[in-house]
Symmetry: none
Amino acid sequence: MNEVQPTIILVEAQLGQNIGTAARAMANFGLDEMRLVNPRDGWPSEWATKAAAGATHVVDNAQVFKSTTQAISDLHHVYATTARGRDLAKAVLTPEDAAKDMRERTALGQRVGILYGREKSGLTNDDITLADSIIMAPVDPEFASLNLAQAVLLNSYEWFKLGNWSLGDGSREDGAVKQAGLRLAGSWPATKEELVGFFEHLEKELDEAGFLRPPERRPSMVRNLRNLFQRANLSEQEIRTLRGVVASLVRQHKRSK
Amino acid sequence: MNEVQPTIILVEAQLGQNIGTAARAMANFGLDEMRLVNPRDGWPSEWATKAAAGATHVVDNAQVFKSTTQAISDLHHVYATTARGRDLAKAVLTPEDAAKDMRERTALGQRVGILYGREKSGLTNDDITLADSIIMAPVDPEFASLNLAQAVLLNSYEWFKLGNWSLGDGSREDGAVKQAGLRLAGSWPATKEELVGFFEHLEKELDEAGFLRPPERRPSMVRNLRNLFQRANLSEQEIRTLRGVVASLVRQHKRSK
């Protein structure tokens, strides 16, 4: 596939077999960019190759990362999949709405990715905080757990539906996407690397100022702060502005030391 | 489920395991009426129960038939799923269109069912001939084969999407509805007064730090900063956090004066 497509990121997937079936689900819908964060049983995996049932190109080209932060660093917009509601202030999209959002963004040349968590427990709140919005599939609340490959399947399917495809009987359909043009704040969206760079800058200064205390509360304070800025869909330019704001506020303090 | 729902009919499924994962996919979307035509490895099946991963009610209540004709005898309208085009003069529907058609029919009290074929070879032309229309999912033609559970999943998902569901956060949606709204965690959204209070606090400190210069650029710098925070839909609590951040960054500076 030459079109810009969402990257599928499996965070700490436990079984190679599930990585393989997820790869197969991706291939069904023309996706081939897979990233793995610390696959539990190591990589490469014979089980993954076997379970991919022919989608070996996806498995063979999968990139492995040591952290979710690294895995998303070059992406502009990231979605986190969850099966249950989380107490995080983020937009929650259906797979269908997320697919529309992805089509709009990729049409503008943005790189997007979808995070999927561990088979048993899903994504951590820290992982979800790194994302711009949450995808939840509508499911029967009494039987809400989708397996990994099926979750990948639904989002990949919704993505594919909005592209150009035929049913193999010659009836051509137009991509349903209208290039509505996103309201982006001035400039190009920041990459996750730029965003995390700002977070780390801010947190370093707040540590020095003694704001992120006591230590046991630091993780949730950091998460809430990151989440708040995350929601703003910051542009490259805005990241620079915010770094300037932080530097400016602490400057005289530093100079006086 | 009390509503009239489509019956899922697996024709000569080969592996009990696949029947189980299909049952699980049904349960994810509130379906529980499964019929089996000559399951190859016999019935009941321990493998099926195990693979159903909790959807045992679907497996336990599955009815077994000796022929497709018998399995569909009490239904009003039947759909046949196929992965490849067939030279049969029948309407071909996407899963989405088929779901709409099913909803319309069941609303009128009609009983409908979906036929799925063998894992390896799909439905025979004889089976397809018994159906009223064909369902084909849009897939990458270079990797078109969906496994049985995934095919069941897609159609069940499209059916469920058109029903009444919520995303687990209490916000009720009706079938046609698109937007899953913003979830604000923890606290109440800030009033504009609180928001402007934060803006003025930040801008006062940035004026003192000499950041909002030269004067002719100040209005646009302020506008850009306000706009960026505005977009985050800040809560009351987050406003307090941000005021704490600003105060903390400038505190030592002030003290040292």
